[in-house]
Every structure is written in structure tokens, then in C-alpha cells.
Symmetry: C2
Subunit: 383 residues, 2 copies
């Protein structure tokens, strides 16, 4: 297995040893960020492993989760934490609650519970819970410990690495936030079995992205294992999550505060964002829009003469096998789509920046797309 | 002049050169925090020095200030910023507005003004403006540039160094915040001429603190220059601010996130906090209560046999010359005072921690004060 620079593979025995009873298989990788480095534990059944928590949580813990996740996992986490458990904070479920108001509720409870700066905040849930809990941890008493238990595939392969935390503002997503690294991440792939099919598939789109943008070996492996991944096979999932996190960690370690190369993680996102906006954020999940966006970006890479048509065809097949959409929605004009792309925050200094593929496993930030080529692409896709 | 480790003295010419026109004298010191290091420029008339701003502000700037400061300095800062000026945000004046609600107003304006992550937030005012602006900078779009123009003596010698930012919560001061370092600090001692006498004196109390806790040379110098300082002589002020910032920078560089030695900066604060609480935060300014608290802590250090009685006598004289109170308020019982000290956040794990003097220029964190000795001290002071 490929180990990118910046990622140290710890002995797989590390967790296997402490988790003899319940864990089928587990690995730990380390995100290398100097004195903010932390481990990601990936395995099946980790949530129910008190031995792991004894190591991961150094103090009294407050678990922050939402109404959907709480009935499924909060009790199990509480049992596993034992004496370390102090309180649960159960938030309403949904991106619309990722606000300063919800954050204030979290502060209120932490102060009511008389938590001091030694408390550990545990995020149990998907990206929204992780973003808000991380931001609460970054800002409660100027920073307290933070542990993530991502329960969706998307959050396991995306929010686990990168340290982005925050809330939305009525005028924009993630406008208020901080870069703040967790103490550790526990990615229990057992939690993925209960995900609705579309939500699971949306996560697979991001997994596929990592191979395309920076890891040809992973892309090749995914091509061979996409059916197993679609069937949520435990060993395939552990490898896919681990490989995705390792790749993201590699990109982030190079550019922790997103000043340059980290932008390649947005592959497919400028097109995807336009699709999400044009359809009022109701028709597609984010990962579904990104899947279509990745195809469009791959197509543009073909038109620029950088990759073979076969790359596009193969990507379409993988996305279909994963249950993801591969066609753009109808009824959007080219001009409207361009406008939505132009309004995107990936635009800097007037030049439209797009992440394209120089080859499979090698994405580049391109700001010199010929306008005619882009219009022709959109015209073909939007029909 | 003493240069503590962790503080690099830059050539005094650095500013003098760019500010030929308006500056009488100026120095720059560097707070050494690795890749978060920054300069503090100290001088008379710096606010009106466009040449300085050209260097200090790398992009469009939003100036955050309050209703009291705005009429005095906002226009001058705007003029000096020239093309870099983008907007002023004028907050109501007072600690009671250091809240999440006010912070939200700042975010609202920044987004209304379409500020992206390249904006620089400029804090023009005292500690409250600095704390809120710094926290807004730490959290707007996950962190933007931040420059401080402290306009009170207290904020020049205290908030300029340390990176503490935040807002209050109804249940406690500074409960929500972050450690976030500015890009630079511009301490214009010219701004101190308009300070009300009590507010100025309150800042002098903190200046005196630095000599006592970590710099015997500075303490000796202050003893010789306390009248000049009380008269706000420009050259004395520049030296006093510079020496104070250098000392604080030294302590902070050792312990950026306040896990140990940084606590010595709280010398006088546990007693002072009890005095402030007992008098409902209305009778004394913070620095005034700290002045009394420092005397009480010095007295306790005498009673423990660590410093001579002469240290206490000399400190009382200096505080009197600075126009600071030197007696505790009447009508507080010893038990009540102990309770107020015990409720203080400097209490960890049950043991009362006090900052005491081993000698002048050498404060220690002590958690073994004999209870009888403390009661006797309070009995004498509260009379």
C-alpha cells in the first residue's frame, strides 16, 4: 500500500492489540502536522471499545451529537467512555442548524455543566456535527481538547483530516470558523452500515476523488474494488478510508492553511457548486453534485488534451457502479451556469480557477481555460 | 536596557527612518513566537504615519473601534491608511458589550462589505476592542490578518502581547475566545495624553507589576522615573511601554498557551479580583484593584519571610505617586474575602494558588500558603 510523504503508518497491531475482543481489523495512521499531529484510528466496531477510549480521551468528555445519531450511537459511546462521560449535547439534525445560535447553545451547556479548560469535546456524527464541535472546541475557554467520531463516509474521508471547523452565516457557508486539529479521530466503519444509500454513495464520490487528484495507485485499486466498496465490505472500507485519509493528510500537511495546493481537494467542486445552487440545494446531495462536477472537470481535461477519453469513460463507469448520478440536470442555460461558477469562492482576482487533471493521480490548478472550450463543454453537458 | 531572552531588539532606526516627519522617537521590538512572531512599534505620533501603515497593513483594512475612540482617532487612522481603508465598525463602549451578539454584528458588516479572507482587521481602542477584534480576526473565514492600535496604557502593555482574544458569556468573563497573534502592534503613546487620570493610573499599575514579577532592573528604573511616568513624559512612556512589552513577551514566549509560568502575570490579581467582586465592579477600575492586590501579595511575601518590609513600603510609595489606591475597601469580612478568592479561576484542584514574590523581579506560583497566615493578612487589611 502506498504511503504518501507526511503520513506515518503506525503498526497495525497498535489498535488490534488493545481491541482484541470486538475489532475485526483496524489500522492507525498519523496526520503529521508537527506539534498538532494526531492519529486516525480506522476499524470495525471501534465505538464499542473502551480500551481505545481510555487512551484517546484524557479527561471528562462531553459528547456532541444530533437527534438522528443519538439513538443509534450515543448510548454505546457513553458506555464505552465509562467514568469519563460527563454529558451529551444533542443538536437538531441538518445544515440549517450549523449556526452561531446553535454554537451558543453548546457554550451555554458547557458552562452550565461547569466544564473547565480540561474538558474534551467529542463530535459524534457527520460533517455538520464535526464542524460545529470542532469550532466550539477551538473557542471554548480559548481552546479545549477535541476528538472526532465521524459516522458518515463523507466525514470519515473528508472532515477527519484538515482541521477546518466552523459555522455558516446567512450570507455564506463556513464564513465563521477556525483551523483547529483534533486530538484524535476514531473512524468506525461499522457506523456506515446504517447510512441511507444516497448518503453512502455521496461519500464514495469523495473517495474516488482522492485517487484521481493525487494517487494513481489508489485509483487503480478502486477500479478493481468498486463493487466491494458499493457493498460496504468491511475490509474494503477500512482500506478505502485509510487510503483517502492518507491522501488528504498528504495534501493538507503541505498546505495546512489553504494558501495553495490544498485547492486540488476542490476537484469537481466548482462545477458541483453551480449544480447545487442551480437546483436550490434540494435535488442533489453535495457528493452527488461533486460526482457530476468531477465528470465535467475530467471531460474538460480531455478537451484540453491532457488525459485520454478512456479516463472519462472509466470514471463514469465507477460512479455508476457506486450509484452516483453522471448527468447534469436539464434546464440550466450556459450563461446561468457560468454565472454560478463565477460567483463561486474559487474565483480569485477575476481569473476562473479550475482544478483539472494533468493525468490520473495528478490534479493541477488551472486559470487559463479558453472561454470557448468551457462554453462548448457546458453546452454539451447542459444539452 | 535589559533585553530578556525571546525578545529581539530591532534597530531603533527602523521606524525613525520611515517616520522622519512626525515621530519624536520610536522603537520596535519583536515578539518571538516562531512563525507567529510579530513586531510592536512604540512611539509618539505613530497613528499619523502613513509610511508605517504602508508597511504594516498588507491589504484592505476594516477598522474596528468604539464610540469614545472613534471621534478622537478614527479619522486620523483613515487618513493614514489612505487607499487601504475600507470601512469603520464603531461599537458601543464598555465591557458589557464584549459579547457574542456584538461579535455577530462585526461578522454581519464584514460580509455586507464583501470582505474576503485577505482583509486586515485593525483594532483601534483599549482591551475590549482589542479582544473582540482579535477574536473576530481569528474566526472570520477561519482567520484573517489582525493589527492592533492600543489606545490605553493598559492595552499597550497588556493586550499587545499574549494573543488572548475573546468575548464574555453571561456565566463568565473571556469564556469564549482563541489564542491568536496579530500581524503587528502599533502603540502610539501620543494616544495616552487624552486618557482620564484614573484610567491612565490603572495602566501604570500593570507597568509596575512587570518590574516586580520578573525584572529587577526595570523595577529600579521605575522607582527613579515614577514621577515622569505619572506626568506622561513621552520618552519615559516609550521606555516604560517597551520594557513592559518585552517582559510580557518573555513570559509569554516561554508559555504561549498558559500552562505554567505565564500565571505569574496574575500577580495581585487574585486579591484584586476579590476586591472587584466585593465592590460589584463599580468602585475600582481593574488596575486599581490590582494595585491593592499587589500590595497585599507583597505583604504576604513579607510575612512568609521572602522579601524585606522595605519592598512593601517602596511599592506603596510608587503606587501613591502614580495616583493609585493603596488601602483595601472597608466592610468586607475575612470569610467573605476568602470565599471570593476561592471562587477565582486561579484555583485548580482545590489548592489556592497565589503569585508571591521570592524577591523583587522574581515571582513564584505558591500553593502552600499557611491558612492562618492568609487569615491574619486579610484581617489586617480588611480591618
Amino acid at each position: 500500500m502506498h504511503n504518501p510523504p507526511g503520513v506515518v503508518k503506525l503498526p497495525a497491531l497498535f489498535i488490534a492489540d488493545v481491541c482484541k475482543k470486538s475489532v475485526m481489523a483496524a489500522v492507525t495512521l498519523s496526520v503529521d502536522l508537527g506539534d498538532r499531529s494526531y492519529p486516525i484510528h480506522i476499524g470495525d466496531g471501534l465505538i464499542d471499545t473502551p480500551e481505545l477510549w481510555a487512551d484517546a480521551i484524557p479527561s471528562k468528555a462531553v459528547v456532541i451529537t444530533n437527534e438522528t445519531i443519538a439513538p443509534l450511537y450515543a448510548g454505546r459511546v457513553r458506555d464505552a467512555l465509562g467514568d469519563r462521560w460527563k454529558a451529551d449535547i444533542v443538536l437538531p439534525d441538518g445544515e440549517q442548524f450549523k449556526t452561531l445560535e446553535t454554537l451558543q447553545r453548546i457554550y451555554d451547556v458547557l458552562l452550565e455543566q461547569r466544564c473547565d479548560r480540561r474538558v474534551t469535546l467529542v463530535a459524534l456524527g457527520g460533517g455538520v456535527v464535526g464542524d460545529m464541535t470542532g469550532f466550539a472546541a477551538a473557542t471554548y475557554q480559548r481552546g479545549v481538547n477535541f476528538v472526532q467520531i465521524p459516522t458518515t463516509l463523507l466525514s470519515q474521508v473528508d472532515s477527519s483530516v484538515g482541521g477546518k471547523t466552523g459555522v455558516n452565516h446567512p450570507r455564506g457557508k463556513n464564513m465563521i470558523g477556525a483551523f483547529y486539529q483534533p486530538l484524535s479521530v476514531v473512524a468506525d466503519i461499522g457506523a456506515l452500515r446504517s447510512l441511507p444509500p444516497r448518503e453512502y454513495a455521496a461519500g464514495v464520490a469523495e473517495v474516488i476523488k482522492y485517487g484521481l487528484i493525487c494517487d494513481a495507485d489508489f485509483d487503480r485499486w478502486l477500479g478493481e474494488h468498486i463493487e466491494d466498496l458499493a457493498e460496504r465490505r468491511a475490509d474494503t472500507l477500512i482500506s478505502a478510508v485509510r487510503w483517502s485519509c492518507a491522501n488528504k493528510a498528504d495534501v493538507v500537511a503541505e498546505d495546512e492553511r489553504e494558501s495553495g495546493r490544498r485547492a486540488i481537494l476542490n476537484f469537481g467542486h466548482t462545477f458541483g457548486h453551480a449544480i447545487e445552487t442551480a437546483t436550490n440545494y434540494t435535488r442533489y446531495m453535495h457528493g452527488e453534485a461533486v460526482a457530476i462536477g468531477m465528470l465535467m472537470a475530467a471531460d474538460l481535461s480531455v478537451r484540453r488534451g491532457w488525459v485520454e477519453l478512456a479516463v472519462l469513460t472509466r470514471l463514469r463507469t465507477m460512479l455508476e457502479k457506486a450509484g452516483l448520478p453522471t448527468k447534469a440536470p436539464e434546464g440550466i442555460s450556459v450563461d446561468r451556469f457560468l454565472e454560478l461558477m463565477g460567483a463561486d469562492k474559487k474565483v480569485l482576482d477575476g481569473a476562473l480557477r479550475l482544478i483539472l487533471l494533468k493525468q490520473v493521480g495528478d490534479a493541477v490548478i488551472s486559470d487559463d481555460t479558453p472561454p470557448d472550450l468551457l462554453r462548448a463543454l457546458l453546452s454539451d453537458w447542459l444539452g
